[in-house]
């Protein structure tokens, strides 16, 4: 069983695209899978065409137990469930701050769900916040999509520093290159620089139109175009990640 948080301090790097496609592949492989959409923008929720119940909100989420159970939705795909996001999640940090043990709240909410699912994916909003700290405690692995640019390099350094600060192992972090553009020389150079670093996976997700258009057809690209380049890339990435997961 493992909880995999898809995270990057930066926005728009392909976190949601990754979470959506990998959770679909995980379920397709026969593992019961839950995708938790923690981003108030609700992009994962949107891709799966789910609407959260009117009564669902951030305090229900943080309460956990039945309040969460009752809001999990089956997706169109066998073995894959979704915990939808609500716009009220934008107040997550304030809500967390009001609670006792505010750093371990998400972990506590996920605990009973760990019994029921083989994999839980967390689609995280960008930034470093109290929520991110919660997520780093709760997750067994932090999967970081990285666009190979100089800026992303900095983001990675920031992330490591933050993990050190809160006493979390750097080895939780798995990194892969996202939205890689063949023609950009800078991408190649950055990748060459980083590929040898610990935790950097040897599979990349190229920049592909089929992924970009996911918002139009609202399905994982792996489900809609299982034979596409995009699906193949996610498939190889998932196989690679599975080698690193804690089994048990």
């Amino acid at each position: 069983m493992s909880v995999i948080a898809v995270y990057n301090i930066k926005g728009g790097v392909g976190k949601t695209a990754t979470a959506v496609n990998l959770s679909y592949l995980s379920a397709g492989g026969g593992d019961k899978t839950l995708l938790c959409d923690l981003d108030p923008q609700g992009s994962s929720t949107f891709y799966f065409r789910v609407r959260p119940a009117k009564k669902f909100n951030v305090s229900k989420l943080l309460k956990g137990g039945k309040a969460v159970d009752g809001n999990i939705r089956g997706t169109d795909y066998p073995g894959l469930d979704l915990l939808p996001a609500d716009f009220s999640f934008r107040n997550m940090d304030i809500a967390l701050d009001d609670l006792k043990k505010s750093r371990h709240r998400i972990g506590k909410v996920l605990k009973p769900l760990r019994q029921e699912y083989d994999h839980i994916f967390l689609d995280c909003p960008p930034n470093i916040t109290l929520l991110s700290e919660n997520i780093f405690h709760a997750a067994d692995h932090i999967l970081v999509p990285l666009i190979p640019t100089t800026l992303s390099h900095l983001a990675l350094r920031q992330l490591f520093r933050f993990l050190d600060e809160i006493g979390q192992k750097r080895s939780k972090v798995l990194i892969f290159f996202s939205m890689v553009e063949k023609r950009k020389k800078m991408h190649w150079e950055m990748m060459r620089l980083l590929i040898k670093k610990p935790g950097v996976l040897p599979k990349v997700i190229p920049f592909l139109a089929d992924i970009e258009k996911m918002g139009l057809y609202r399905q994982p690209v792996t489900a809609a175009f299982p034979r596409s380049l995009a699906a193949t890339a996610y498939g190889e990435l998932w196989t690679e990640i599975e080698k690193h997961l804690d089994r048990g």
Binding site: G30, F48, R49, V50, R51, A53, D69, N71, I72, R73, G74, T75, D76, D81, E116, R218
Partner: protein, 514 residues
């Protein structure tokens, strides 16, 4: 706990048309229709329903996929896909993995038999809400049974977590179309099996019969023998086809029970019948014994190989290869005997006799109420064990232990013949007590059989080559450890027997059967 996705299956009446139903429901939803690829499904279980008994159903889909499902929910426990899986019959035929790990302890030495094959085709309907999100699935299934002109038509509604309202709405429309007979996910399989003349749990190697206390001894005895004859006959085809070693084993157990019955239930059947069939069945015991002994030897093969160093395994291999070829011969002889006119004629004479209304001439005890006679038989058996058991000393010969084992079996058989006449809880207690003693004696016997087999092997081993000498000393080592183990079992016997013979147990026998 996550609620499992809701699922409901109904029988589809002849009159119900898929299109009409779908059109009707389609008013509230967007609909997607997707024909499903045709598949062939075969249901497998052992002859004695080991999987079904444990709430499991094993299916092979087409030639390359196996599914182990939970009964009655239909939920998947484990599945396996791959080439070369078509001919799996024993658990050891499956590649190492989850499926095999689950099957191994359940199947034991038994073979998986195909029970029924269905050619299945269907259509999947998806119901989508205004967001184009799927909220329910409906499957129309048509399953055609091989070798029979029967089609099972069902419709299955599967809900999605968090979309209960839609499930209810679709379910209601379905009912409106007169589809109301809800059935289990295994409906077509179970009905199909019935058409082949079998039905789930129709065979068990345990003996059970319901007798009424007021039955005459003769009626009851005939009923018991009929049940045992049925067990022998049901196992005969499996022996002849050499499906697995349990058919012969169960056959011989029924035969032994019959012989014990003939010996224990005295002066109920006419003496000439008893005498004739005692002889006939003794002969049958002999004829079937050779093959069974070799079967038993072969069951030790894996264990021995694992106990010997790898370098010597080859030598033992030759020994078991020899046993296998001897078993081939014994099996052929056995088949010849079971197909012989003499055997068939004997069995049909026995059958005719058991089916005759009057059971022939009356004997002294024929008209006694069975309950009275049963108590006497059980008590006599019990006393015999007490006497013989007490006479066993640490210095007694092995023979005495073996004889006691046989008497315990006889007591066990008579308890099982007559169990229905006594309070079930008491019978359970009495049988459990006896079982503990039988386990000790069984282990003792098992160790004797193994030693005897290894002695046979040593006798055949030609001295000479260095390897053979090594092998001989390895086997010698095994023998020593078996002998040692047997001594321990024997030492344990005395305390087991004391427990069995203690006054509370004796009191219970007197109260129940005296």
């Amino acid at each position: 706990m996550i609620p499992e996705p809701k699922e409901k299956i109904w029988l589809l009446p002849e009159s119900a048309a898929m299109n009409a139903i779908v059109d009707d429901i389609g008013q509230d939803f967007t609909i997607e229709i997707e024909p499903q690829p045709a598949v062939t499904i075969t249901w497998f279980d052992t002859f004695d329903w080991r999987l079904y008994r444990r709430r499991k159903v094993l299916l092979r889909q087409n030639k390359d996929s196996w599914y182990l499902l939970r009964r009655p929910s239909g939920e998947e426990i484990v599945s396996l896909q791959g080439n070369g899986l078509v001919g799996c019959s024993f658990s050891s035929d499956f590649p190492p993995g989850r499926l095999r790990t689950v099957l191994e302890p359940i199947l034991g030495v038994r073979r998986l038999l195909p029970l029924v094959t269905l050619d299945s085709s269907g259509v999947l309907i998806r119901f989508l809400n205004q967001d184009e999100k799927v909220v329910a699935f409906l499957f129309f299934h048509e399953q055609r049974m091989r070798k029979a002109d029967v089609v099972f038509r069902t419709v299955k509604l599967r809900g999605i977590r968090g979309y209960d309202k839609d499930f209810k709405a679709v379910s209601k429309s379905i009912r409106r179309h007169g589809i109301v007979d809800s059935v289990s996910p295994f409906y077509a399989l179970e009905e199909g099996v019935r058409l082949t003349g079998r039905c789930p749990l129709d065979y068990s190697s345990e003996f059970s019969i319901t007798l009424k206390p007021e039955m005459s001894a003769r009626q009851a005895t005939l009923a018991i023998f009929r049940r045992l004859l049925e067990a022998m006959q049901r196992n005969t085809p499996g022996i002849i086809d050499d499906l697995d070693s349990e058919f012969l084993h169960d056959f011989r157990v029924a035969l032994r029970r019959t012989r014990s019955g003939l010996a224990l239930i005295k002066r109920v059947l006419p003496p000439e019948i008893t005498e004739t069939f005692k002889k006939e069945f003794a002969e049958l015991g002999r004829v079937t014994g050779a093959a069974r002994d070799l079967d038993v030897y072969l069951l030790y093969e894996k264990d021995y190989k694992s106990r010997l160093p790898a370098s010597l395994r080859g030598g033992v291999e030759a020994f078991f290869a020899d046993i296998r070829s001897r078993r081939e011969i014994a099996q052929k002889e056995l088949v010849r005997s079971l197909r012989s006119p003499e055997y068939r004629e004997m069995i049909s004479r026995w059958h005719d006799y058991l089916d005759s209304d009057d059971g022939g001439e009356a004997s002294e005890n024929s008209e006694l109420p069975i309950k009275d006679l049963a108590g006497k038989i059980i008590l006599r058996s019990y006393r015999r064990i007490l006497n013989d058991g007490r006479a066993i000393k640490p210095s007694s010969s092995d023979k005495k232990m073996h004889r006691l084992r046989i008497h315990c079996k006889k007591l066990r058989y008579s308890l099982e013949f007559f169990a229905s006449l006594f309070p079930p809880a008491d019978i359970r207690t009495v049988i459990n007590q006896l079982k503990k003693l039988q386990n000790n004696l069984g282990a003792f016997n098992d160790l004797s059989v193994q030693q005897e087999m290894l002695h046979q092997y040593l006798a055949r081993l030609r001295p000479g080559s260095g390897r053979n000498q090594q092998l001989a000393s390895a086997i010698g080592g095994l023998l020593t450890s078996l002998h040692h183990e047997q001594q321990q079992v024997r030492e344990a016997f005395f305390s087991k027997f004391r427990r069995f013979a203690r006054s509370e147990n004796t009191g219970l026998y007197k109260k129940l059967f005296g």
